[in-house]
Symmetry: C2
Subunit: 279 residues, 2 copies
């Protein structure tokens, strides 16, 4: 996949230049693809379906704050396929305009995840007003535009460079192992013999023991379940879609057997992709 | 619990008067308790531990948007016990100052959940600037304070009354079954023979099949698992705490047997509470 005429590929990410999404995109595809910054996660799915982009890159999970639930919901809603994943260490920095110092800061802009991932640092400054913004890089851009010493942003080093801001505090994320896992999506399913991770979504009948009955097919076929995530079914209060990642390749007989049995035990079943795992 | 000298009880909720948290509190305890509005979810745990309040009321899950993950993390972090739950239908309304009409609105304030739960309605007005705010009731208060016709808030009917705002669009939540489940927490464990729902949190060894091995004790003891939620373990990327709700009473032998076996299969195990289920 990575070697096929990269130059013509257009790959979408959410945010503005300097976003972590763009970094993940470049880490996966290299820098010879065309990158396209889009406003929302849903825009990535729409532009992909509309053939305006060839692939999309989306954050799915952060090691400190958990699932990006909107992306889970969109994966179920749109018919796209996960073809790969990439993990990106996330370092947050506090930045301000040139000449500003940390004592000048009175209000800080960032994506809510930026605040959440830097919560321990921010507790030292209880008087700062924290203003949620579209994404980390956009908040750096906003601080540059306003050109006020009392305004700070929490964003990446790349964003600081791009928007000519000065880093006032380095690596302020509470967890030094802070990593975000991104997925790569495509219109068509793509897999090969190296694909060793499968993502599915299913729902089970609303009665006692039905989730357990579906999950038991993993154990019976010696398949290792990696992750399970619950999301509500909007029109059915307290019923859930279960998003499950497990090890395997769709061409292997035990995997095929488990999937066949799980389909029977589910009221809804969809394969989201089979790709190479990085964690 | 509900009948013991209610008048002296102080119960905390997050938000300001008119918040959904306050409504849930009154639905559970009735209106003869003292209510205490607190700034953050964590404040509720802190004031409870510090004996400044007797009980706390916290949203744990919305039927449209899913888990309130911060509350899950806090339940694990603090030693408090879930003693009950209450479900509150959530109706969101768009409101503005007296004399404003929907055509005047240019910016709208609400909690991000208010925007998310009203997303279909908001898509009709792509030019409105959506500004995330602390909570729905506080955004109503903010619109009242500013007294500008172009400012709107998404909040409850009670908040509209309290802050003397006019409802410009009724029931704008995308899902008409929109319900939030709230939990009641206490310093001490409290349960009786009517308690029929148990919440636990556990983590399992980081190796193949370990989650399945822990869950199988439910099936083996004919226990109905109601919900499973994964949350990251901050210092161990891609390892999880599993929050599990299941039916049962801690005094029943099959439940005791299942818990004993699950403890053995877990690297971490904590009972969060045993209480009466409402859904």
């Amino acid at each position: 996949m990575k070697d096929e005429s990269k130059k013509k590929l257009i790959v979408g990410f959410q945010g503005v230049p300097g976003s972590f999404g763009e970094e993940a995109l470049l880490a996966y595809f290299g820098d010879s693809v065309c990158t396209k910054a889009l406003d929302t996660f849903e825009d990535i799915f729409k532009k992909l379906i509309g053939q305006e982009i060839d692939f999309g890159v989306l954050p799915i999970e952060n090691s400190s704050t958990g699932a990006i639930t909107e992306v889970y919901d969109l994966l179920n809603q749109y018919d796209c396929s996960i073809i790969g994943e990439v993990c990106l260490p996330i370092q947050h920095h506090l930045m301000g305009i040139r000449g500003a110092s940390i004592a000048d800061i009175r209000e800080v802009y960032s994506h809510p995840q930026g605040f959440e991932q830097s919560s321990k640092f921010l507790k030292q400054y209880p008087n700062w007003k924290l203003i949620p913004y579209y994404n980390t890089a956009k908040s750096a851009e906003w601080v540059q535009k306003n050109n006020q010493k009392h305004m700070g942003a929490i964003a990446s080093e790349k964003a600081a460079k791009l928007y000519n801001l000065q880093i006032l505090a380095f690596g302020i994320n509470s967890n030094q192992h802070n990593t975000t896992r991104f997925i790569i999506i495509s219109r068509e399913q793509y897999m090969d013999e190296e694909s060793d991770k499968i993502s599915i979504v299913l729902s089970t009948p609303h009665r006692a023991g039905s989730l357990y009955r579906a999950l038991r097919h993993f154990a019976e076929n010696q398949i290792n379940m990696l992750k399970i995530e619950s999301r509500p079914i909007p029109d059915k209060p307290w019923e859930y879609f279960f998003y499950i990642d497990f090890e395997g390749n769709l061409n292997h007989p035990p995997v095929q057997k488990a999937i066949q049995s799980m389909r029977k035990d589910s009221t809804y079943f969809k394969i989201l992709g089979n790709y190479k795992k990085t964690v």
